[in-house]
Symmetry: C2
Subunit: 318 residues, 2 copies
């Protein structure tokens, strides 16, 4: 049994908890939070060091910049860790820092798992390795964006809202036809807003206000629907997400090849948790081979993610 | 420069040749064939041992059962090899055999690369690692099948033909909707035949004959079109192929996640060659780390497939 600890108890922490409890080769030792949660199996983060001999892998479920960036370099001294650190521009320096401390302390840190970074990083790597000449496009959605939701909610007269980012079908069609389209998030996505208006406000004016929010909406094709609070609660309060990585490449004979990975997720944190847990198993398996240091998803062979023996995996998957 | 040798000069060998010549970090040392080809850089396979110090990796481009199964266990004594051995049921025993000889001779054998086995094996492995509960479906096509083409050609009155295997859209829609469909090749694919009839034969009768060929067509929904030789030559003599791997999984909270990889290839051998070449680079990189033995695609971390340093890859892809 792989003994797992969870740090942070937001959406991702809760998804990890459910999944670890259901995973045959894992056992949940404790959930560590800054808050005091008076239930069995919950501990304050200050007391985590006492568990250093009882936990094989810690899954870090906090936010990248506020939590993981601060906690991980301390925790890695006593624990093997898996995280979904996702501030793309800071990943190289974070990797370097974690690698150094992990090596000194003979620990394993698997960083930036999840779906982007994570599964999408893997697909971008394989696709470009195979189709050296070509172009890779990453699309997000259809999915909920918290930042955009908050920007809409800030408008006076808006009672509640949800916002979806959606890849443009016509843009995808073009690139698959081999047309060399210049990618920008604005050219490749539309934004759809479902909003509830307060009484006494003009919906046309509210719509214009939403569409002109700088950066979030002003450069996008944005569609706004006004609906009732009831309908919003019923149909638009989930956490769906997804996306696509598409690489269109040319062989030396000028034949086109297209590799496309699509993700469609009814619940974003549940899927991120599932990736975290597969990599927690990888951390455990790498440790058994006496490895140490920082690893990203491109450093780890697929076989480490599963509980079956290599022979069983070859038979089942190759 | 990675020094490459190619064994076999059919469609795949030719695609590999073109691609190696275009690949910056590779150099083509020679092409080895059973036939005598009187051109610079071509050699008879009997003379290959002389090149053992001049070649870093040999790419084996023959057929699985007639060529690779026989040649590879001999060649691995003197060379690192990459192949696309694709007889699924024999892969475990082939892997074991190659592993033993490769270890004894301090060589690396990367077996069963390409797209299925190969890229599809990788995706099946990742998908099941992430979505432990769920079901994986593999679809082939739209693409040309040589075996089916030959079966149609054997009918008296058929002058020429092409056959496409095509995944059924409605079946794919069903499984994405989470309906638990029982997969069988017949339920999940249709077959489309483009045929040229000899003069004086009844097309209705020919169509019936095609549709009733045992195993190849009788259990499938088959569509037959009679066209002119001219049209067949113009539109149906390419080597397109492709396919899909779809995993539909459920999280512990009963949310559905779908991972889908789609390939669309204008030229099947060109793409298989591209995968072979990426793994030839992996063989070279593994050798530099003093590894030995047999490797499948699930044993190799993505970073080994590219020429950039690990730091560059993290910056670019994560």
């Amino acid at each position: 049994m792989i003994r797992i600890g969870i740090v942070g108890y937001g959406n991702l922490g809760k998804s990890c908890q459910k999944l670890v409890e259901k995973t045959e080769d894992m056992k949940l030792v404790g959930i560590f939070s800054r808050r005091e949660i008076k239930k069995d199996g919950f501990y304050k983060i200050e007391n985590i060091e006492k568990f250093k001999d009882d936990i094989d892998v810690l899954i870090l479920c906090g936010s990248s910049d506020k939590d993981i960036r601060v906690q991980a370099p301390l925790l890695i001294k006593n624990f093997n860790t898996v995280d979904s650190f996702d501030t793309h521009k800071n990943i190289p320096s974070y990797e370097e820092k974690m690698g150094k401390i992990a090596e000194e302390n003979d620990k394993i840190a698997i960083i930036s798992t999840g779906w982007d970074p994570g599964l999408f990083s893997i697909i971008r790597t394989y696709s470009e390795a195979i189709l050296e000449e070509g172009k890779t496009y990453t699309f997000w959605g259809k999915g909920i964006s918290q930042g955009h939701y908050a920007a809409v909610r800030n408008i006076e007269g808006i009672k509640d809202a949800s916002q979806y980012t959606i890849p443009k079908e016509e843009f995808i069609k073009k690139i698959k036809n081999g047309e060399n389209s210049e990618f920008s998030p604005e050219a490749a996505h539309i934004r759809e807003v479902f909003a509830v208006a307060e009484e006494g406000y003009d919906k046309k004016e509210l719509e214009e206000k939403i569409k002109s929010i700088p950066n979030y909406f002003d450069k996008y094709h944005t569609i706004v629907h006004f609906i009732s609070q009831e309908e919003l609660n019923k149909n638009h309060k989930g956490m769906p997400h997804g996306g696509k990585v598409i690489r269109v490449g040319q062989s030396p004979n000028q034949n086109q090849s297209t590799i496309e990975l699509s993700l469609s997720l009814e619940n974003n944190p549940d899927f991120t948790a599932a990736v975290n847990i597969a990599y927690a198993r990888a951390a455990y398996n790498l440790k058994k081979e006496n490895k140490k240091g920082a690893f990203t998803v491109i450093d780890i062979a697929p076989k480490y993610l599963l509980k079956e023996t290599r022979q069983e995996l070859i038979k089942k998957f190759i």
